[in-house]
């Protein structure tokens, strides 16, 4: 090849890059010009991050209880006092019949009823299996189980106390073998089971994905709706330049949001950062490119912004539900677990958790890297392919 030809080639490449540079510049100007959108893109997600990270816990901290004490004996009062003293329960009322108590649950003022029957003390002293009744509002099954579990453990410790305190029982209590296996549990990476440590990276990943996918999904179709896309179509801009020109600015927005979010997480919630931040950002770039590719793909196929939003929203909703943030992926059925592989959000959350909390290195997250990389290539190739300069 003669050097002259190479030179032409080089200057051509340079020109192409310059065109791309202008496109990116144009996009940035448009983003920065929109005064209404800018705060919505930056401040609101951070507020959300702070608020929602606190909201998202499945812990059951406060159970409203109604105690129906039909026995009114020394034992029943003791049990009552134990319940009031426990931090998990707050006593709402102590009505004298069950109907009234059920009304509290009907009106959703109470979550659980404990009924102490007539002759509870007497039956107990006779060794006739005194029975207590628990009625739990089980519309939320998980909470009902945890709540009645708390109450069960209070009652059983009440039982132990009775056995220990009353001399007549002490003989009997000796027969009960003490628990010979002690289960000691420790939680690695998060010894105090801090919920925010776990939620902040997840919600951050979710907000970033949500924002970028919707912004890009609306972007191309907006140009089409307003008609400015025709002006671009008549220029010699190549397909890949157009797509890259859309991708790079929003990649920057996503990375900015991630940086601000991580800083806020560190400053406000003191989230752990065990692993390398470089790894997180490296992965985030691949992930964002995949998500943006999907957004652009949606945008290419949509006719109106409304349509683009709803298609994007549809995907985002599925991604959020299936990403392992609210319910662990391990509890899903097998088919659903496989369905999380092409979900960029699930991959992001898995990586952020591994790297930030466990300090995993590259070799531990290579699978996520691979999947996301493939997704990025597939979505972006499709986005370039589906963008048609002629209608």
């Amino acid at each position: 090849m003669c050097p002259n030809f190479l030179n032409i080639q080089q200057s051509k490449n340079f020109k192409q890059m310059k065109i791309l540079g202008y496109l990116i510049q144009k996009e940035f100007i448009q983003i920065l010009r929109n005064k209404a959108l800018l705060p919505l893109m930056t401040i609101l997600p951070i507020i959300q991050l702070i608020v929602l990270s606190n909201a998202a816990s499945n812990e059951v901290k406060n159970v409203n209880i109604v105690v129906v004490d039909l026995d009114r004996s020394e034992f029943s009062r003791l049990l009552n006092r134990k319940i009031v003293a426990s931090p998990e329960f707050s006593l709402v009322a102590t009505p004298y019949n069950k109907g009234e108590a059920v009304d509290y649950i009907q009106a959703n003022k109470a979550d659980i009823i404990l009924e102490i029957p007539h002759n509870f003390e007497k039956d107990y002293l006779r060794g006739e299996q005194a029975t207590l009744q628990i009625l739990a509002n089980a519309i939320n099954g998980q909470q009902a189980t945890v709540g009645s579990g708390y109450l069960n453990s209070i009652i059983s410790s009440f039982n132990q106390e009775l056995l220990a305190e009353i001399p007549a029982f002490q003989l009997a209590s000796k027969k009960v073998s003490s628990n010979s296996i002690i289960v000691a549990s420790r939680n690695w990476y998060n010894p105090e089971l801090n919920y925010t440590d776990f939620m902040v990276p997840g919600i951050l990943a979710e907000l970033t994905a949500l924002l970028t996918i919707i912004l890009t999904a609306m972007n191309v179709v907006r140009e089409r709706e307003i008609g400015t896309i025709e002006q671009i179509n008549v220029t010699p801009i190549k397909k890949w330049q157009f797509i890259l020109g859309k991708l790079v600015p929003f990649l920057c927005v996503g990375l900015l949001l991630l940086t601000v979010g991580l800083t806020a997480g560190k400053l406000i919630f003191d989230i752990p950062m065990e692993g390398s931040l470089l790894l997180i950002f490296g992965y985030a770039i691949v992930n964002l490119i995949a998500v943006l590719g999907l957004g652009l793909l949606i945008s290419n196929f949509a006719d109106t912004q409304q349509q683009a939003i709803f298609v994007a929203f549809f995907f985002v909703l599925i991604f959020i539900l299936m990403c392992g943030l609210f319910t662990p992926i391990d509890s899903m059925p097998k088919w659903a677990q496989y369905a999380t592989i092409p979900n960029p959000l699930a991959q992001f959350i898995s990586v952020s958790r591994k790297v930030l909390m466990k300090g995993s290195g590259f070799s531990d997250i290579k699978l996520e890297f691979l999947y996301t990389f493939l997704l990025a290539i597939i979505f972006n190739t499709l986005a370039i392919w589906s963008y048609k300069k002629q209608e």
Binding site: A36, L44, P45, Q48, V51, N54, A55, A56, S57, N58, E59, V60, K61, D103, Y124, T131, L132, Q133, I134, A138, I139, G141, Q142, A144, S148, N159, L162, F169, A172, S178, I182, V183, S185, R186, N187, L193, D197, M218, R222, E225, A302, D303, T304, Q306, Q307, I309, V311, F314, L317, L321, M322, T327, D330, S331, M332, M357, K358, G359, G361, D364
Partner: protein, 369 residues
Amino acid sequence: MIKIFWAFVKKEIYHIIRDRRTLLILFGMPVVQVLLFGYAVTNEFQDTKIDILDLSRDKVSFQLIQHIKSSGHFEINQVLRSEQQMEQGFKEGKTKLVMIIPNDFSANFYNKDATVIQLITDGSDPNNANTLVQYASSMIADFQQERFQQNTNPFQVKIETRMLYNPQLESAYNFIPGTIALILLIISAMMTSLTIAREKELGTMEILLVSPLPPLLIILGKVTPYAILSFIDAVLVIVLGVFVFNVPIVGSLFFLLAMCLLYVVTALSLGTLISTVSKTQQDAMMRSLMGLMMPSMMLSGFIFPLASMPVILQYLGKIIPTTYFIEILKGIMLRGVGLNFIIFEIAVLTGMTLFFLLMTWRNFKIRLE
């Protein structure tokens, strides 16, 4: 006037029907959401992968491992050789729990000396870690009980637990009302805010405003088709809940639908309110998504219990209309209560709706800037 109004509604319906994809999403979204909640998104777990570090390696420890395996909740990923291997499984995310059986396990077990089994969990998912420990410890206790048929002590308090409204503890009972509330909000609020912002962005709003129709009728005409659409969706979710997931409707169906209608009005008024303050569709979208959807999803008690949140968030939850609507839905559908039990929630929801309508009324500009 009525005739013009209907012509306007018809125009709007044509707009909606013409856009097949959005229509597909509008009906597909509730179905997919309900099915995902019903089949994929659960807190119950099975076949969780755990590692075991068995330092004892004898018959009893082997039996314990078999016992753990037999439940179907746990699957043994790997039997470890030394403590050095524990961390690798966690880091790769292949294991969620390591059970360490001490080397003097069987000797102590039969002598009834205390022996400590350690459970180490992956605390990076606290919810999961908690549940796993609970399950594992109750299984170990079971194992112990099986080994020594403990002589029963007559002085025992027996506990009878009854799960009201949902004896099978089906998760559908919880998510069907939440899904209805969310879907109604998405369609009514988001769609209307977008559709009005779209007219503004394209400039067709000006044409409508100079037409002889009063502005109030324009807005009514725009929201009516969406009200119908979202109402159909609500019915769709209820039907799915009843026939696919066997969620009962204990209370009056008519009352339930009337309440859905009230909430549709609330959501529509919110949607128009958003559209009055936003200039472009992007703007309207961001506002309704960030300001409406996310808080309604997280702070309404739909996914996470409100009572366990910090106090400030509980107050925030109380100003979200969805919170009250979900409460009303659960009351009518599952607890079968009448008006007198949920009068407070209904009053609050009505009050909020009136407030939003008033705000919209004041913010709505019939002139161009």
